[in-house]
């Protein structure tokens, strides 16, 4: 057995386990820790590790979603943080928590990491909540909601001849059809495109709003091989950001995704799988272009964010789904992408590879 083909870092680090909750429109009967805990137990059980044996724990979430201050300190109760553990948190998607954990392992300060993230959007109105992440001087006072901003991007793509409404509908339909085999997805099978939410985006072009959790275990070197039959080695990972102002950017392209992909070694060899964090159908068009993905690549075989988009977890789920395909031998080299901010402002790209027989 040979190691990962294109490793470029001090230590070989792999995703050795992935778990996620069922993603649901509402979870009123569960507090956040009650929602998170079963997924933590499941991902640890997959490795046989106990919480106390994990070298570093990192989580991603946002208090704005459920309106609960310092909610991540409450969900830490689900980890069992006694005796005291080495722990951190990002107010971002869990993909960035995974990045921090990966760096921690690269430094040699940990050999394993538990990464989890969750979003409970059901208590609030997520379209309005997300306006609070915008520039407070020029944008937030106008309350432009997340669907409106994505619709501006979609119209720019249509004007540029990059897509049209039937093509967007086809992306939505393919995603929900592929989600038919994903028991955790919120939307599966045929879902009507529906009316315009903000034209040109219809209901079907938008992600479902829901609550959900994801968790991943990372491990380095030989330990990864002990914990997982076929580890998903992270042979490249990078994240880049663009200007916040939408008027400063070409909304039909994602140069930050392309740059992150270059630094992650994505273009060095072909991939067979791409898990793209494209909450809106139109954003898949942008990401396919940025990565130059052809028809031979399976894009979002899990159904992607159009089938389940728990805020703060949907990006980590892309890494987890890509890793899970490698674990079960359905992929040899996959790319996973996560995004944050309006209209794909910030993008993370990870390349995952399995050992070759």
């Amino acid at each position: 057995m040979t190691g990962p083909r294109t490793s470029r870092y001090a230590r070989d680090v792999a995703v050795v386990a992935f778990a996620q909750s069922d993603h649901l429109r509402r979870t009123d009967e569960l507090s956040e820790v009650e929602m998170v805990m079963p997924v933590l137990h499941e991902v640890l059980a997959a490795t046989g590790l106990k919480a106390g044996e994990i070298g570093f724990t990192c989580s991603g979430s946002s208090d704005y979603l459920a309106g609960r201050a310092f909610s991540f300190t409450m969900t830490l109760d689900g980890v069992g943080a006694w005796p005291p553990i080495s722990e951190s948190h990002v107010e971002m998607d869990g993909a960035w928590a995974l990045y921090e954990a990966w760096v921690k392992i690269q430094t040699g300060e940990a050999d394993t990491a538990l990464v989890y993230s969750y979003g409970k959007s059901s208590p609030g109105s997520v379209r309005d909540v997300l306006t609070r992440q915008l520039d407070p001087y020029y944008l937030a006072p106008l309350w432009p909601d997340s669907v409106a901003l994505a619709a501006l991007q979609a119209q720019a793509l249509i004007d540029a001849g990059e897509t049209d409404e039937p093509a967007l509908a086809a992306i939505a339909a393919r995603s929900r059809a592929d989600a038919g085999t994903n028991p955790h997805a919120q939307l599966r099978g045929a879902v009507p495109q529906g009316d315009y939410q903000v034209r040109p985006l219809r209901t079907g072009d938008c992600p479902p709003v829901g609550d959900g959790v994801a968790a991943v275990v990372l491990a380095a070197g030989d330990l990864a091989r002990q914990l997982c039959e076929r580890p998903a080695w992270i042979t490249g990972i990078d994240h880049r950001i663009e200007a916040h102002g939408l008027g400063l950017r070409d909304l039909t392209d994602s140069p930050s995704t392309r740059t992150a992909a270059q630094h992650a070694g994505f273009f060095d060899a072909p991939v067979d799988t791409a898990e793209l964090h494209a909450p809106f159908s139109s954003q898949e068009v942008v990401l396919r272009k940025a990565l130059g993905l052809g028809d031979t690549v399976a894009v979002n075989p899990s159904g992607g964010a159009l089938a389940a988009n728990p805020m703060m977890a949907a990006g980590l789920i892309r890494i987890g789904e890509a890793a899970a395909r490698i674990h079960r031998g359905a992929s040899d080299r996959a790319v996973a992408h996560a995004t944050s901010g309006p209209c794909l402002q910030q993008n993370l790209v990870a390349v995952l590879e399995g050992d070759r027989a």
Binding site: S31, W82, L142, V198, G247
Partner: protein, 326 residues
């Protein structure tokens, strides 16, 4: 001890408000003050592009940029999206288009609302102009919205080649800050464990949950044992009496709180609980409260939780009986 069963889910409105007061840099101050005076300013980047709305640092080189220019209040739509159902706080209450507008003289586009009769009246490339708000304070909302401009007989085409004129950015009584008001409305639902706790309180009972691993009884329960990281499942009724484990004497009157000072606020370990909760001690002079004092809850008519705790009259508890709970 009874096995926990899913209780009725409780819900309550939760309003979060955060009126941030934000200061402005020199470029933002000039821009927002300019809007108050019906003047739109941009800023020149190192390579000569005009950015509107202006930023303080070059988005490409990150150099500090301060060269202001005045651009027109007319421009061209670069992309748009029709919003049939305006949401609270958005610029217009009737259906409108969101639009990115490149003002004449600018190289970048500004996001705002465009008031148009319907989606068929909007297209990329259409000419629009600023509709100023009647009352202007130095905020992005001083632009009420954009409106179509192409049918206006006096609409001048943008002058070719003529760059926007420099502007010193100096206005009388410049705006130096904004108050960014925000209110978000939620429906709070406390989850299984806390719902059971709150429901029991309404029957004047205090119910905790036991960790199946370390057997500690959490009051109030949050559904998980933070030491073991497992779900607490078994409900345990605790109290009603308990022991003061530690306390403090409050000498400062809290705003909107109708309690005479000094009074005692204490940690109270209810009988059977694995940790102390806190409450006010009454029915005893403040300087006679002590560690080990035995207390019981006092409920007021219709109260959802004990108003305070008062001495039971029992002998004080031995230190050894509560030392692990301090």
């Amino acid at each position: 001890m009874t096995a926990a069963s899913p209780p009725e889910v409780l819900r309550a409105p939760l309003v979060v408000e955060f009126p941030f007061t934000r200061s402005l840099g020199p470029v933002q101050s000039a821009f927002l003050t300019g809007l108050r005076e019906s003047v739109v300013l941009g800023v020149k980047t190192s390579d000569g592009r005009v950015v509107v709305p202006p930023v303080e640092y070059d988005p490409v080189t990150s150099e500090e940029i301060r060269d202001l220019v005045e651009v027109a209040a007319t421009g061209t739509v670069t992309t748009w999206a029709w919003n049939d159902r305006p949401r609270p706080n958005q610029p217009l209450g009737t259906p409108f288009a969101w639009a990115l507008v490149k003002l004449d003289g600018a190289d970048t586009a500004l996001l705002h609302a465009l008031d148009a009769p319907g989606p068929d009246a909007v297209r990329t490339g259409m000419r629009v102009r600023v509709r100023w708000a009647a009352e202007r304070t130095g905020a992005i909302t001083d632009i009420a919205c954009f409106e179509p401009y192409e049918d206006a007989p006096d609409a001048p085409a943008p002058a070719p080649g003529a760059g926007p004129a420099p502007h010193d950015g100096v206005f009388e009584d410049a705006v130096t800050g904004i108050v960014a008001e925000a209110r978000l409305d939620y429906v709070y639902s406390p989850g299984r464990a806390q719902t059971a706790y709150i429901n029991a309180l309404s029957e004047q009972r205090t119910v905790g949950e036991r960790c199946p691993s370390c057997h500690k009884v959490y009051v109030p329960p949050r559904g998980a044992c933070p030491t073991c990281g497992v779900a607490t499942t078994d409900q345990v009724e605790v109290g009603p009496a308990g022991t003061v484990t530690t306390f403090c004497i409050v000498n400062i009157k809290a705003k909107n709180l109708d309690i005479e000072v000094p009074y005692v606020y204490a940690h109270i370990a209810l009988d059977g609980a694995g940790l102390a909760l806190h409450g006010r001690i009454g029915g005893i002079p403040y300087d006679q409260v002590r560690m080990g004092l035995r207390v019981e809850p006092v409920w007021t008519e219709g109260g959802r939780y004990p108003d305070h705790y008062r001495p039971t009259g029992e002998p004080d508890a031995d230190y050894d009986a509560y030392k692990e709970l301090i």
